[in-house]
């Protein structure tokens, strides 16, 4: 620990903060309330629908259908279906009577980022409350029209009728038909009892799937606008240290003179090319001669990176310090401890980002896939100098980055290129742009110590984590000089939190310390990646948990069960054990001697909400070092499940992604720049290696929804690591579990046994 230990909050507030989080998980009464949270942009108030008007959210049409006007972005997670389910159920319409509308600034409500599992958890609540308000208003109109009190009215498929006299009826369409509600959105109309839901909780087919399967779905990459040029970025192949960016020394525009219509666009150190033909733009970007200045100050290896983080002058903060860890460890019977290291990993969306910008002297139209149309408007205004209300942003889907990838940078870059070129520009990132200039999930290193008593009861848990923060500012604005590179200053999700460092268990003495590394100089820019930090945290915490169970000679499932924190963690643990037909035995007690050895592991984890558990069955080839996840079981309890079919598939996907990140994915670099620039040098999980996957949906319809898009990843990844120990009796202390690392670990263990 460095000597500048600064508790950033007084101790009392720590306990308060920590206590509040724990209480939240113990289901305090407030957790049952329908809480949509604050609207991110509600205070901005410029050129956006007034969120306080019901008409900003719902329109009723003459044909007895409704448009649900929400601000959440379809990213393949099904939100364009699930939000409609919520609205339809609340309005007593069926699914054929509801539709959404494309997202556009000024027309769609500002619901902020579609991220952090908030789409359903908060966005869904707002849609539900708006639908309840709408139904209340419609019933009021119907009561007048039908001459019956509201209490005597019933609704089915948008037809309001009088109970006991069904001939007296009127449709929503007849009541309001394309006219405005002209009432405020109060959020206070009574919502349906969950036991009366007929659409929520059912596996409604997704709205977007048929068009996607037919090849008729329009992704952003399909759009073309008249008169546009094709743009490509010109940047060094692979970013260097965040603070130093990339400085242009010389550009030789004559080096692309032979390409028809190709020209260089430059603003400060921002460089790109445009051309009328796309292939010409690709060629020009490759051919343009540029000399760059990039300092050679990156660490020499992954190991050197983690050592550098540990040696840094960190700012240290208690996330939690409960009880007396020192005393508890001193009297504990079994103690497990270890160091665990995690790499930088990239977002790597399957489709490199694309954006179209048409920037004129007094206005701009932007097509972007970023998960916030209003946030994109903000940054485009920043780089173009145009006022906010002169920038219109339209959202079109691309393949998701599962976090803050390069959508924002791409939109800004397209805007700058359009402004410089004086024409609309379609900017398509190349694979190496996307791999090389992403914000990565930051590397992490941890020291973990967990102890139990002679009965296998956990007595102390201590976690020290080192990482730098997410970074603020994006490449384009930094290169053009409108923004200085900086580190973000948030706390949550930027270091160890309670959620994956012990919340799963009842822990009397519990200490979590965040050692914040200054991440500007000699590190990469960083941003949240699906289940931010959690795979690193659970790789460390859940392996140590397994290790202490092993020392206590207890089955890892039983050990977790007897230390479990509350019924919801227990629920997912038991669900996954049942699905996988878990047989209790001590880890590594069933080891084989052949070349290929099988192992099974279990783990618990989540992100900031919901509850996740996983079991992994793996094979380790002891000659090649190749580890394959053969079969995985994941469980999520996200509270009320809106669409179990979607959640089940989300869990299956998370099991594959967990295997990918635990076994394969790793950003590599030289002293100067990132070197993992394509799918050969940054290996993703492929079809041939994909596990069979089972998703177990633990539905608690009486508890508010809390998200299911990422909450089984941490458990899935750690289950694989624990399965490796079960197969080999050897702990892996760094991931991904590449063949070289696996062979080194197996050899190291052999050596220490014979020594």
């Amino acid at each position: 620990m460095s000597d500048n230990f600064v508790p950033e909050l007084p101790r009392r507030q720590f306990l308060k903060a920590g206590g509040a989080l724990v209480v939240g998980f113990a289901m305090a009464p407030s957790a049952f309330a329908q809480n949509p949270g604050q609207l991110t942009g509600a205070t901005e108030g410029r050129s956006q629908p007034n969120p306080g008007d019901l008409d900003s959210w719902i329109a009723i049409h003459s044909d007895n259908t409704a448009t649900i006007i929400h601000g959440h972005h379809e990213l393949g997670q099904g939100i364009s279906t699930t939000l409609l389910q919520i609205a339809a159920d609340e309005l007593d319409l069926d699914m054929s009577q509801v539709s959404g509308m494309p997202l556009e600034t000024g027309k769609s409500p500002n619901q902020g980022l579609t991220a952090a599992s908030a789409g359903i958890a908060r966005g869904g609540v707002r849609v539900r409350l708006a639908a309840a308000d709408a139904k209340h208003a419609l019933l009021g109109l119907a009561a007048t029209r039908l001459g019956a009190p509201i209490e005597q009215l019933t609704v089915s498929r948008g037809v309001v009728s009088v109970v006991g006299n069904p001939s007296k009826s009127v449709t929503y369409g007849e009541l309001l038909g394309d006219k405005k509600f002209n009432v405020p959105f109060t959020g206070r109309s009574p919502i349906k009892d969950y036991r009366k839901h007929t659409i929520v909780g059912t596996a409604v087919p997704r709205r977007d799937v048929p068009a996607k399967a037919a090849g008729k779905y329009v992704y952003l990459q399909h759009l073309r606008v008249p008169g546009m040029l094709h743009g490509r970025l010109v940047r060094p192949r692979g970013q260097g240290s965040f603070l130093h960016g990339a400085k242009v020394v010389t550009v030789d525009a004559s080096s692309i003179a032979n390409i028809p219509g190709a020209r260089v666009v430059r603003r400060g150190d921002f460089l790109g090319v445009v051309a009328p033909k796309e292939w010409d733009a690709v060629k020009a970007a490759q051919q343009l001669k540029v000399a760059w200045d990039m300092p050679a100050i990156l660490p020499e290896s992954q190991e050197a990176l983690h050592d550098r983080m540990r040696a840094a002058k960190t700012v240290d903060r208690f996330v939690l310090d409960r009880g007396d860890c020192t005393a508890a460890f001193a009297r504990a019977v079994h103690v497990a401890s270890g160091r665990y290291d995690a790499p930088y990993q990239l977002h790597g969306p399957f489709a490199p980002n694309c954006a179209i910008a048409d920037v004129k002297s007094d206005s701009a139209l932007i097509y972007s896939s970023r998960q916030t149309i209003y946030g994109t408007r903000q940054v485009v205004s920043g780089v173009t100098g145009l006022p906010l209300d002169k920038v219109v942003v339209r959202f079109y889907e691309t393949s998701p980055s599962y976090g803050r990838g390069m959508q924002e940078d791409c939109a800004m870059a397209a805007a700058v290129m359009s402004q410089e070129a004086g024409a609309p520009v379609r900017l398509q990132l190349m694979r190496w742009d996307e791999h090389g200039w992403d914000h990565y999930q930051q590397a992490h290193t941890a020291d973990v110590k967990i102890a139990c008593d002679d009965k296998g009861k956990i007595v102390a848990y201590e976690y020290h984590g080192w990482q730098h923060n997410f970074t603020a500012g994006d490449t384009t604005e930094i290169l053009i000089g409108t923004r200085k590179p900086a580190e973000g200053d948030g706390i949550r999700a930027q270091g160890p939190t309670l959620f994956n460092t012990g919340d799963q268990y009842t822990i009397p003495n519990w200490r979590i310390v965040n050692h914040r590394v200054p991440g500007m100089d000699g590190y990469f820019k960083a941003a949240p990646l699906r289940s931010p930090m959690d795979i690193a945290l659970s790789f460390a915490g859940e392996q140590t948990m397994d290790e202490v169970a092993y020392k206590a000679n207890i089955d890892p499932y039983q050990f977790r069960k007897q230390n479990i924190n509350g019924e919801r963690w227990l629920g997912v643990l038991e669900a996954v054990a049942k699905a996988s037909n878990w047989k209790s035995r001590r880890a590594a007690s069933n080891r084989q001697t052949g070349r290929v050895r099988t192992g099974r592991g279990i783990a618990l984890g989540t992100h900031l909400s919901s509850y996740g558990a996983a079991v992994a069955d793996i094979e380790v080839d002891t000659e090649t070092g190749v580890v394959v996840a053969k079969r995985m079981f994941g469980a999520i309890d996200p509270g009320q499940v809106i669409n179990p079919g979607i959640v089940e598939r989300q869990i299956e996907g998370q099991m594959c992604v967990a295997a990918s990140r635990m076994l394969k994915e790793e950003v590599t670099f030289s002293k100067t720049n990132v070197t993992s620039l394509d799918w050969a040098t940054y290996q993703p999980l492929r079809f041939g290696e994909a596990p069979e996957a089972t998703g177990v949906v633990v539905n608690r319809p009486n508890i508010p929804s809390s998200g299911a898009g990422e909450e089984a990843l941490a458990a899935g990844a750690a289950a694989i690591a624990n399965a490796f120990f079960d197969a080999t009796g050897v702990r892996m202390h760094i991931f991904p579990l590449t063949p070289a690392r696996v062979l080194a670990a197996l050899r190291g263990a052999q050596k220490s046994q014979t020594a």
Binding site: A213, G215, V218, Y219, A351, W679, F687
Partner: protein, 167 residues
Amino acid sequence: MAIKLTVNQQAQEVDAPPDTPLLYVLMNDLALQGPRFGCGLAQCGACSVLVDGVETRSCVTPLSRVEGKSITTLDGLPAWYAQQQKLASVPELHPIQRAVIDEQALQCGYCYNGQMIKAAELLSKNPKPTDAEIRTAMNGHICRCGTYPRLMKAIKRAGLAMAGGTR
């Protein structure tokens, strides 16, 4: 100088330099929605098309190499299937497309151009592939949403539908 090729059973003449990768011609000159850019390196399968029935990465295939050949994109997959199976009429969807919908297999769906093109190629030769055969055939197609397990189910379902008749 115009280059002649057949795309989705229609004769096309394309005026583009012969080194232009087929992908850019299909996307920009012919405005097709199936093949799409993913890596430009033949590593991911986003751009896959069938060239004379063989799955081919259009992002690295120069136009000159497909002169006079028959190219099928996702947009023309049902018609290609009808031709293969000698069906009287063109179905709305190829069985793999139907199966993807029935299984609700895809998430973002961007990689499914290549996934479905490759699966269609596999099923045209082997309508009852084993798990191992599917894994081998599909290994060159990346999915970052992790839908491989569902896609496996969809491919088998499509194979069954094909074996059982003409869906």
